[in-house]
Each structure stands twice: as structure tokens, then as C-alpha cells.
């Protein structure tokens, strides 16, 4: 085995790099999404967007194929002939089906009932988010199209998330399952709650505010919408999710509520950004 001969230089390099990284973390954490580092991020995001879009389009068939291959276990009960037929048919129809689905999705999102007169911008997802600790997607429009930080993002089923960061030609949308996401929701009996993301695989958690009111009686399957109160981040009546489970522990006033998003976050392609701000 070869022996590495320069431990002191290696330690020096490591120390410098660790200090550089810690400095970046400190500056970025303190700048709260503004400043030089945010500008650099925006510029990189903008510069990368065309490449990302092209690569995403080019690699999507490979991704679809691999996704199918990874789900093989759930299909093993089917016989070999049928699988072969499905693969052959998928290969033939994947492009047509993709285009048809995209067209249907765009059409469906042109008349969202809950948007109620608020202007929207149609956007396409160019990156589904590859981080395992952040539930976000990147969209193909930014400040040049009127997109701004904090704007609500919706799809045909309801709320998808909100704009987290924006550059000239792209924006990052934080999805409602992300732990940093929270939205005020209306509960039965004029109660108000806060729906909070927990993680990619878990339903949202609803915290109930029952000040001066009786605890809300909720049922599984009930749909909750945004409250739209003053200073809320979202306009009222956007469907957020369906109550997946509710239970009240003995001695507890408020029920524990979990909420399953109405929009299938795994199947997002086109979204609508609502040109709305709380002010």
C-alpha cells in the first residue's frame, strides 16, 4: 500500500476548506436570502436553466425506463408475455401519451375554480428536486414573468406550495410536504389551524388554534382549505388536503389531525403561480 507523504499539507488544505465552507454557511445564513451569495445562486440557476431543461428532456426517457425497472417488484405477479407487451407499447406510446397528458394538464389548469380572479402564470417544472432533505421543484419562469418569492403555487387539485427563491428565468417552489412549509387552514366550527409539512413520505400535520372556541369536530376524508386570514401567506379557499386521520387523546382538547395533500406531488409537470401577495 502506498503511503501518503504530505499529512501536514493535507491538514492545512482541509482546515482552509472547512473554514471557507463555514464562512459561506455563516454569511448565507445571516443574509436571509439576500446579498452576494443569493445573487450568485440566482445567476448560477439562470445560467444552468437551459442546460437543465435540455438535459431533463433528453434524459427523461431514461429516467422513465429506470423508474419502471425499479418498480419491477410490484409487477412480478404479471406474466412475462404481458410485461413484454407493456414495455413495447410503452415505448411506442410514451411520447404521444406524454404530450397528451401535458396538454390535458395545461387545459385543466386554465380554469381552476379556487383561483377566483387572481391572475396566474403557467409554468413548467424543469427539475423535480434531487435533494433528499428538501422537497422542492424548479420551474421555468422567474422575475421576468412576474414570479416573486412567497407567491402561492397551485395545480388542478389545489395547493402545491409557494415560491421559495426566484431568479430572472427560474424559480424554486417549496412543496407543501417540506418541513419548512406551513399554511393556515380553516377548520369546522370557525376554527383555524396551521398545516405543516413533515416530510416527503408523511402526511401534513395540523395544529389547531381553538382560542375562545370549542374544539373542532373533524372527520377523516374532509377537505381543508386555506384560511386566508390577514397576514396569511395564501389567499382563502385554496384546497390544501384531505384529512387522513384524526384522533383525540384523553385529556387533550384539540384533536391530532394529519392531512394528505390533494395534489399528487409525484406527478407534477405544469403548475400555476398565483400573482398574489399578502399585502
Amino acid at each position: 500500500m502506498a503511503v501518503y507523504r504530505r499529512p501536514s499539507r493535507t491538514r492545512y488544505v482541509l482546515a482552509v476548506l472547512v473554514l471557507a465552507a463555514l464562512t459561506l454557511v455563516t454569511i448565507d445564513a445571516r443574509s436571509n436570502g439576500t446579498g452576494l451569495l443569493s445573487d450568485i445562486r440566482s445567476k448560477v440557476s439562470d445560467g444552468f436553466a437551459p442546460l437543465q431543461r435540455g438535459t431533463h428532456a433528453a434524459l427523461q426517457p431514461i429516467g422513465n425506463f429506470l423508474t419502471g425497472a425499479l418498480d419491477y417488484g410490484s409487477l412480478r405477479h404479471e406474466n412475462q408475455t404481458l410485461r413484454n407487451q407493456i414495455v413495447a407499447l410503452q415505448q411506442q406510446s410514451v411520447q404521444a401519451a406524454g404530450e397528451e397528458a401535458a396538454a390535458e394538464q395545461v387545459l385543466a389548469e386554465q380554469h381552476l375554480p379556487f383561483v377566483s380572479g387572481i391572475p396566474t402564470v403557467s409554468v413548467e417544472i424543469i427539475d423535480n428536486g434531487s435533494s433528499n432533505f428538501e422537497n422542492s421543484v424548479t420551474i421555468d419562469k422567474g422575475t421576468t414573468s412576474g414570479v416573486a418569492v412567497g407567491q402561492p403555487v397551485v395545480a388542478a387539485g389545489g395547493l402545491v406550495g409557494s415560491v421559495q427563491s426566484v431568479s430572472a428565468h427560474t424559480a424554486t417552489v417549496i412543496l407543501l410536504t417540506d418541513p419548512t412549509f406551513a399554511a393556515g387552514v380553516r377548520l369546522p366550527g370557525a376554527n383555524i389551524g396551521t398545516a405543516q409539512g413533515v416530510g416527503r413520505t408523511d402526511p401534513m400535520r395540523v395544529t389547531v388554534d381553538t382560542t375562545n372556541l370549542a374544539a373542532p369536530k373533524v372527520r377523516a376524508g374532509e377537505e381543508l382549505v386555506t384560511s386566508g386570514l390577514d397576514f396569511e401567506k395564501f389567499p382563502p379557499n385554496i384546497p390544501v388536503g384531505r384529512i387522513a386521520a384524526e384522533s383525540t387523546s384523553p385529556g387533550q382538547a384539540e384533536p391530532d389531525i394529519t392531512l394528505a395533500p390533494l395534489v399528487d406531488l409525484e406527478q407534477l409537470s405544469y403548475l400555476q403561480v398565483m400573482m398574489w401577495s399578502p399585502q
Partner: protein, 190 residues
């Protein structure tokens, strides 16, 4: 142009392609909702092929590239994590680990899992407590599935990395490990 400079340019190009693939394809490769992390894998390969210094450098830049596409965590958190992981892998390879055919996949598994845990731990220490909100079970799942992905992809990626970094100081000193790297005889300027 010197072989060292050429090697750096090739590794830079490899990182560029890797972040492009990471941001375009990785989300389609989710198993149990967990995506692979190509950037940490390249960092591990750099540490294995070039030692602690190469691992630290490549890890820093790979992490910084990753940070550019994250919005919930501060710039530099992935750079810090990957830099430490790359350096640790390189130091272990140079001083502790015995040559073995299964060395690269085994190290890729352990180091990737460690990187996922370290990212969350460092994030928590640096005020990013939301990283823990998804719970321990999610962290364990991410660590395991990412580690499995790295194990599967480690051999081809290590070959590509060794090709890109041929002629660099780290590879000249350490020599690529067995089991997946190109053989030392095929490397120029040893």
C-alpha cells in the same frame, strides 16, 4: 499544459456533468422516495483514488455545486460535509484500509451513509433544525438507500473518475485502488 492542470480540468468537467445529471435525472431514480447522490459518490471516488487532499478538494467543489441548487439550507453546508467525507475516505485509504476487490463498493456504502448523517448533524449544529423534522426513520432510510445506490454505481464512477484524474498528484502518489479503478500500469506519468 501540464498533466496536473489537465487532470484538474477533466475533474472539473466531470463535476459539471455530474451536477447536471444530479439535477436532471436523479429525481427519476428515486427508490423508496430516496434519490441517489452522484456528487458524494464522486467525492468518495476522489478520496479513494487521490487521497485525503484530493478528496477534500473535490468534496468541497462537489458540495458547493450541490448547494447552488438547494434553497432550504445555507450555501456551504454540503461543501463542508462532502469535504470532510472526501478527506476522511482519502486518509483511511492511505493509512488504514487494505487493498481488496470489494474495497470501493464497501467504502462507497459506508461513506455515503455517513455523509447523509453528517449533513443532517452539521446542519442541526449550524441552526438547520428542519433537517431533523422528517424524523429519524427518514434519515435512516435516506442513508441506507443512498448508500445502496452508491454501492451499485461505485465501480463505474470510480473508473470514470480515475480516467479524469489521471496524471494528478494524488493518483501519482497513491495509485488507484484495486477493483474497479483502471490499473496503475495504464496510468501515464507514474
Amino acid at each position: 499544459m501540464s498533466p496536473h492542470v489537465l487532470a484538474r480540468l477533466r475533474v472539473g468537467l466531470l463535476l459539471f456533468v455530474a451536477i447536471l445529471v444530479q439535477t436532471s435525472l436523479a429525481s427519476d431514480l428515486r427508490v423508496a422516495e430516496v434519490a441517489p447522490d452522484f456528487m458524494v459518490l464522486i467525492t468518495i471516488c476522489a478520496g479513494m483514488a487521490g487521497g485525503a487532499e484530493a478528496g477534500a478538494w473535490v468534496g468541497f467543489w462537489a458540495g458547493l455545486a450541490t448547494d447552488m441548487f438547494l434553497t432550504s439550507t445555507p450555501l456551504g453546508l454540503s461543501a463542508l460535509t462532502y469535504c470532510l467525507v472526501g478527506a476522511a475516505v482519502g486518509a483511511l485509504r492511505a493509512g488504514v484500509l487494505q487493498e481488496h476487490r470489494a474495497l470501493i463498493p464497501a467504502v462507497a456504502f459506508v461513506a455515503t451513509a455517513a455523509a447523509a448523517v453528517l449533513f443532517v448533524a452539521l446542519g442541526d449544529v449550524l441552526g438547520q433544525s428542519q433537517l431533523l423534522d422528517a424524523g429519524r426513520s427518514w434519515l435512516i432510510r435516506v442513508a441506507l438507500v443512498e448508500a445502496l445506490w452508491s454501492t451499485v454505481l461505485s465501480l463505474p464512477v470510480s473508473i470514470v473518475y480515475a480516467w479524469a484524474a489521471r496524471g494528478s498528484a494524488g493518483i501519482e502518489q497513491l495509485g488507484p485502488p484495486r477493483g474497479g479503478m483502471i490499473s496503475t500500469e495504464r496510468l501515464p506519468a507514474r
